[in-house]
Structure formats: structure tokens, C-alpha cells
């Protein structure tokens, strides 16, 4: 009956260890730490969902952790509450400023306005804003020298994933859904869809994308929240029942439900988002069914921007914004893991990637208007 088998004995041992840890506490005391930290404080404010969302907040947070380990910077972070308002974002950023942070990374478009206002009020503090650029109140673009926008043209990678999915699908149906249909969500779905269409055009096939029918993204499939993983599973099972065999969930932790659904039906796969799911413990149970992942290399970008801060080479402003795309390696699809790809597909993907980088293929997205 077990779905996942692990070494029970090990678990038992560990359990006992936890217990004895609490009881005994008679280990030797460690020596005082000796490392000399860098006098630079890098901080981060999450969006709702928090740093353990197995998705984009977590990926960004990984960058902060790396910076702490590799650069020796001090860090601090604020996790916004599950139901966050602007008030929470503002006070999160404010508290980071009072903590004396040199650089504050704000994660998500929800924090754009709060970031802008804080940056204006604190010109000496640097900011990096992920997934959004700055704009004025009238939505005209705004450039501030101490804010570096970090954005991702995820559609490019999603395009490749869509092509791969279309090629891999045995049923001729693939599927996608969002948590809520924000642009940062639908950009994945849209790119994925374009990739499938490209495959159809190239091979004269008719692979369809369930859950993203029509061009009006507001009518695509969504679970309505980023919490209820069971809903993600049910929805995915619905896709599978309609004949789809590959699903792209763009819904943060809800995607776990999709992964679990692949365990119940042979020959079904899930496409990860934000980071390579294959390596994440959260997704370990079904890692064999992860076709690929559409990666947003946020950890690297965060690490880079912190590094620039430490090196005093930080450049802000719209003109210096970072747009992660295939060309600069900011977005990518994960390397092949356990799933067997159709023959020759890797070469095709490589060629497509080259064409996208060279501009021969244009994947439409809000970043290329």
C-alpha cells in the first residue's frame, strides 16, 4: 500500500535521536565561532506564501542564503503574512531599513509600490525588486537609481517546455492551470501554449492545451488560491480524465497536488515551475514523473545583486534592470532527469533555444511589446 518506501529503521533511529536530544543535552560545548563577517547586510521581504512555498519566494530566499554562506554577508528577512496587504509589505520593508540593511530584495509584483516609496524615502539603501519594474502612480515607467528591477521572461523557457511536452505527450493533450491568473502566472501558461503550437506547426500535429483554451487568459483554469493542494490534485485528475498526460501547474505549493496526481496514473508527467523541482525535497515523492521544470534562476540573480552591493558595483535604475531570459541564463528548462524524452528532441530544443536567443523566434510576452 505504500506509495513511497523509505528506510523505516532510519526514521525510527532519527525519532529516537530527537527524543534523546531533548532529554539528555550532554554533548560537548562547541568553541566560539571565529569567522569574520563582511560588514554588509542583505535583506529580503517575501510575498504572501513565505519562504517555504516550494516556489518563487523559496528560490529567491535560496539566493540570500547562498550570499550569507559564500560572501559572508549578514542577512535578515521578513516573511509577509499569509493574507498580506500593502500595509504589511510597507512595514516589512521599513523594519528591514531599521535593521540597517544595505540592500533589500523585495520578492513579487505586490511589493512594487512599497519598494518604490521606501526607495524614494531612503536613497542610501539599495533595493532589488523581483518580478516587476517600477512605475509612477499613473503607471508611467519610473527609474530610481537605488532600485534594480529583476524580471524574467519566463515565456521563453515555458515555450521550450511546451514544445517538449507536446512532443512527449502520447495522448496529444497537455494541460496547464494557475493558482490565480496573475500576469506572472499566465506568462508561464502563455509561453507553454506557444511552444505547443510551435510543435504542432512544425510536425503538423494537433496537440491541444487543456486549461488554456482561447486567448483570454482570464478564462483559463485556476484553483483560486495558492494553498489548497488537494484542489490542485483534483483539478489535475480532471485533466487526466479528459485525456491529458502532462500538466503544468503554475500555482506555487498547489503544484504538489499535480505531482501527486501523476503517481496515481501511469504515463503522466508534471512540469515544475520556478526552480528545478527534481532536486527539491518537497517534490521528491514524484520526481521520476517530473518531465522538466521551467526555471527562474532567482537565486543566482539575488546572489549576483548582493555581490554587486558588496563589491560596491550596484547599479540601479530602469536602464540597468535585469531581465532573465534564455540568452543570459536567467530562465531555462531543467536538464533531463528520469523521464525518457522522444528521440532527437534535445537537439530540437537546443535549436529552438538558439533561435529564440538569436531573435529568429519571438516568444510573445509582456516583456517584448
Amino acid at each position: 500500500m505504500k506509495t513511497v518506501s523509505r528506510t523505516t529503521a532510519l526514521k525510527g533511529l532519527a525519532l529516537a535521536a530527537v527524543a534523546s536530544l531533548a532529554l539528555a543535552g550532554c554533548a560537548a560545548a562547541p568553541a566560539a565561532p571565529t569567522a569574520t563577517p563582511v560588514d554588509y547586510k542583505a535583506c529580503m521581504v517575501s510575498d504572501a506564501g513565505g519562504f517555504n512555498d516550494a516556489s518563487f519566494n523559496q528560490e529567491a530566499y535560496a539566493g540570500l542564503q547562498q550570499a550569507k554562506a559564500e560572501l559572508g554577508v549578514q542577512t535578515a528577512q521578513v516573511e509577509s503574512p499569509e493574507k498580506a496587504t500593502q500595509t504589511d509589505y510597507v512595514s516589512g520593508i521599513d523594519s528591514m531599513i531599521s535593521e540597517g540593511c544595505n540592500l533589500i530584495v523585495t520578492v513579487g509584483f505586490n511589493l512594487a509600490t512599497a519598494t518604490r516609496d521606501a526607495a524614494k524615502a531612503n536613497p542610501k539603501v539599495n533595493f532589488a525588486l523581483i518580478d516587476s519594474a517600477l512605475s509612477n502612480d499613473d503607471f508611467s515607467p519610473l527609474s530610481l537609481p537605488n532600485v534594480k528591477p529583476i524580471q524574467y521572461d519566463t515565456a521563453e523557457a515555458a515555450y521550450l517546455a511546451g514544445y517538449l511536452a507536446a512532443a512527449t505527450s502520447k495522448t496529444g493533450k497537455v494541460a496547464t492551470y494557475g493558482g490565480m491568473l496573475f500576469p506572472s502566472v499566465t506568462i508561464f501558461m502563455d509561453g507553454f501554449k506557444q511552444g505547443v503550437e510551435a510543435y504542432n506547426k512544425a510536425k503538423g500535429k494537433k496537440v491541444t492545451v487543456l486549461g488554456a483554451t482561447g486567448t483570454d487568459s482570464s478564462k483559463w483554469a485556476a484553483t483560486g488560491d495558492f494553498n489548497d493542494q488537494a484542489k490542485g490534485k483534483t483539478l489535475t485528475e480532471g485533466f487526466f480524465a479528459q485525456g491529458a498526460d502532462i500538466v503544468l501547474p503554475v500555482a506555487g505549493p498547489v503544484g504538489v497536488g499535480s505531482g501527486q496526481a501523476t503517481l496515481d496514473k501511469k504515463g503522466t508527467y508534471v512540469v515544475g515551475v520556478d526552480s528545478d523541482w527534481y532536486g527539491l525535497p518537497t517534490h521528491a515523492a514524484y520526481k521520476a514523473n517530473i518531465l522538466t521544470s521551467i526555471e527562474k534562476k532567482m537565486a543566482k540573480a539575488v546572489l549576483d545583486v548582493i555581490k554587486s552591493g558588496v563589491d560596491k558595483t550596484f547599479t540601479g535604475g530602469d536602464e540597468n534592470q535585469y531581465v532573465g531570459n534564455l540568452s543570459n541564463g536567467g530562465v531555462m528548462i531543467a536538464a533531463q532527469h528520469d523521464v525518457v524524452y522522444p528521440a532527437g528532441i534535445q537537439a530540437e530544443l537546443d535549436a529552438l533555444q538558439a533561435d529564440i536567443i538569436s531573435g529568429k523566434i519571438v516568444v510573445t510576452s509582456p516583456y517584448k511589446k
Binding site: 493574507k83 496587504t85 482570464s218
Partner: protein, 385 residues
């Protein structure tokens, strides 16, 4: 409800203080558990116990010190503005929670359990936001109009519940729960259509509210408190007046305590349901205006946050008494503001606040439990037969 009200009013201040204390102690235990320092030092407590106790003290004291600095007064700050900023943050958080709490208090006192704070805040914010964004008028008309729109928006959404209850007998608990979901989804939809979405924006946000419709930021832009604070105080006074001095409130309370007697005395129950829920919703709608025309300045999906549910606990903690609600709102606002600093400074998860909040309400509701914990004897009270 009735009985608890009595319990509450009968309970003395001592119990309330002890209840808060007990909750903070439990919070402290959780803080200590979550501290990595404490976790590490306990492993060698035998070898160097001082480390452990040091870590214990540092984690708990550090956390609550940070909370104090985040919620009341930051004595470590370098300039005056930063020093007093925390208390203004507390007030900024307290404003919508208190307003919505007042709304729920009106309903509770009238015997209706309004769980629909979230939906009513959203409706208030949508109405006020729309007027604030798209109507162009001089401020002396625009601002009151926008606030009024918010009050009406929340009020209508609330009154609809009262109407359904009066007309069909539908249970208001279910209806308000369902209406919360519906309001969130409606807002989510409208923020993707030109009705509310900012032109040129790809994200679900509205254009900013015009300056002529904004609350007055009377302490300047570096603080986030605004005229909503005054509106909140007015709302407290209004609610107090409504419930204690007005004839309408008298009928509300009569309905809340004994609907049968109210009916026999000629009070129109159905109409009163509509009015109660309308006023209750209007106060939540006012909270929505404070959010959209003040603190947030534009509409987003997060406009209601968890204020609708916080308001329930605030109303309960405040014993549905307007001044009590104010105190409870300030307490919760402080906890929320302090939690951010606590997290930023001490790495304590923000969820501690939820635990402390709920424990406070539980303890205050059960004075015998608090007395048992602290082994306080019951104050001499004449025991009626």
C-alpha cells in the same frame, strides 16, 4: 453570547492582565523552542548550562524587546521620527481592525453572528476605490463622497445578508461565509477588467486614488497614520452612541437579547435584521475606505487582508463594547506591528502573533482558568441565587 458578555463585564481587570500575561508566556515558550540558539545550547546544557539560559533569555527577551520596539517606541533608533514611528504603525494597523471590529460588535450585540467582515471590507474598498479613482471633484466633495461610497458599499453588502435572513430565514453565518468568498472573487475579477484595473498595468492593481479623495496624512508622509484614525475614533463614538444612547440601538439590543419580546413589543424584526447588518457592514465598509483611501492608496487583492477575521476576535475580546473594541484593536494592531520587527530582528515567525492573539481571547473568556493558572482567589462577589 449573553452569558459571556456578563462574564466579561463581571471579570475584573486583573484577570484581563493575567490573561495577556499568560498568552505572552506561552508565546515565549514557542519563541524559545524556535530559537536555533536555544536548540543548540540545550544539547550541551550539562556541559555549559549558562549558555542555555543565556540563549533562552536572549531569545525570549530579545523577541519581546523587538516587539516593543516595533509596536510602541523604538528606543534604539537614531532619530525622533524612527523612534515614534512604531506607535504610529500600531495605530495604522489598528484602524481598519477596530473599524471592522465595531461593525461586528454591532451585529453581535444584536444577536447576529456576522462572519462577513472580509466581504464587507472588500465591498467598501471597491466602492470607495472606484469613486476615489474615477471621479474628479474638488476634495471637499470628493473625499466625503468616496468615504460615503465605501460606507454604502459595505452597508449594502451587509444589508443583503440581513434581507436574506429576514425574507427567507437563511442562516447568516453560512451566508456571510459564502459572501466572503464571492467578494474576493469579484474583486479579483474586477481587478482584471477595465472597471478597476489600471490601464497600462498587467497586474491586478487599480490606478491610485486621486489625492482629492485621500484621507489626510496629518503627520506627514513619513508616517502612515491618516485621517482614518480620526474616522476610527468617530466610529467608536458613533457605535457607543448607537448602542447605548440611540433608540435604534435600543431596538438592536432588544432583538439581540430576546427576539420574542422584541416582536411582541412591536419591533419589526425583519427590518431590524436589515438595519443591523447594514450598519455592521457599513462600519466594515469604512474600514475598507481607510485601507484604500488611506493606507494603501490603491486597490489590490490584499485590501482586506485578514482584517475581517481579526475583527471577529477583536469584537469578542472587546466584549462587543465599542471602547473595549478600541482597546482590543490597539492591542492587536500593536501585536501585528511588533511582529514584523520581531521577525526582522529576531527571526521569530510571524505566526506567533496568531497564537498569542487567540490565547488572549480564550483566557479572557475563561477567568476561572486564568485564576487557576495563577492561583488567584476569586474576588469577593455577592453570589446571587
Amino acid at each position: 453570547m449573553k452569558r459571556v458578555m456578563k462574564e466579561f463585564t463581571g471579570g475584573n481587570a486583573m484577570v484581563s492582565v493575567l490573561a495577556v500575561l499568560a498568552s505572552f508566556i506561552v508565546g515565549g515558550i514557542l519563541i524559545a523552542i524556535s530559537s536555533t540558539e536555544v536548540q543548540t545550547t540545550i544539547t550541551y546544557i550539562g556541559a555549559r548550562p549558562a549558555d542555555f539560559f543565556n540563549a533562552l533569555w536572549n531569545s525570549v527577551f530579545g523577541a519581546y524587546d523587538a516587539m516593543f520596539r516595533g509596536a510602541i517606541f523604538n528606543y534604539k533608533a537614531h532619530d525622533g521620527v524612527q523612534m515614534i514611528k512604531p506607535i504610529t504603525e500600531t495605530l495604522a494597523y489598528a484602524t481598519p481592525i477596530t473599524m471592522a471590529g465595531l461593525g461586528l460588535a454591532v451585529a453581535f450585540r444584536s444577536g447576529l453572528f456576522n462572519i462577513g467582515g472580509t466581504g464587507q471590507i472588500i465591498f467598501g474598498a471597491m466602492f470607495a476605490g472606484w469613486v476615489g479613482i474615477y471621479v474628479d471633484l474638488p476634495f471637499y466633495i470628493h473625499f466625503p463622497l468616496a468615504v460615503l461610497a465605501g460606507i454604502i458599499g459595505g452597508g449594502l453588502f451587509g444589508a443583503l445578508v440581513g434581507f436574506l435572513k429576514a425574507a427567507t430565514g437563511a442562516n447568516e453565518v453560512i451566508v456571510t461565509i459564502m459572501f466572503n468568498y464571492i467578494a474576493v472573487l469579484l474583486l479579483s475579477y474586477l481587478l482584471k477588467t477595465p472597471i478597476l484595473q489600471a490601464p497600462g498595468s498587467v497586474n491586478p492593481v487599480s490606478p491610485p486614488v486621486r489625492d482629492s479623495a485621500k484621507y489626510w496624512f496629518f503627520m506627514g508622509d513619513q508616517f502612515r497614520i491618516h485621517g482614518g484614525l480620526i474616522a476610527m475614533l468617530l466610529a467608536v463614538i458613533f457605535t457607543w452612541w448607537l448602542l447605548n444612547r440611540s433608540t435604534l440601538g435600543f431596538r438592536f439590543r432588544a432583538l439581540g437579547h430576546n427576539p420574542n419580546a422584541a416582536k411582541v413589543a412591536g419591533i419589526n424584526i425583519g427590518l431590524t435584521y436589515v438595519l443591523v447588518m447594514g450598519i455592521s457592514g457599513a462600519l466594515s465598509g469604512l474600514a475598507g475606505t481607510s485601507q484604500v483611501l488611506g493606507t494603501e492608496k490603491f486597490l489590490t487583492l490584499g485590501v482586506a487582508a485578514s482584517f475581517g477575521f481579526d475583527a471577529i476576535t477583536v469584537a469578542l475580546l472587546g466584549r462587543s463594547n465599542p471602547w473595549g473594541v478600541l482597546v482590543a484593536g490597539l492591542l492587536f494592531g500593536g501585536l501585528r506591528a511588533g511582529a514584523v520587527t520581531m521577525q526582522a530582528n529576531q527571526n521569530v515567525p510571524i505566526d506567533i502573533v496568531l497564537v498569542v492573539q487567540s490565547l488572549i481571547v480564550l483566557f479572557i473568556a475563561a477567568p476561572p482558568l486564568v485564576r487557576a493558572i495563577f492561583r488567584v482567589k476569586e474576588s469577593k462577589k455577592a453570589v446571587a441565587a
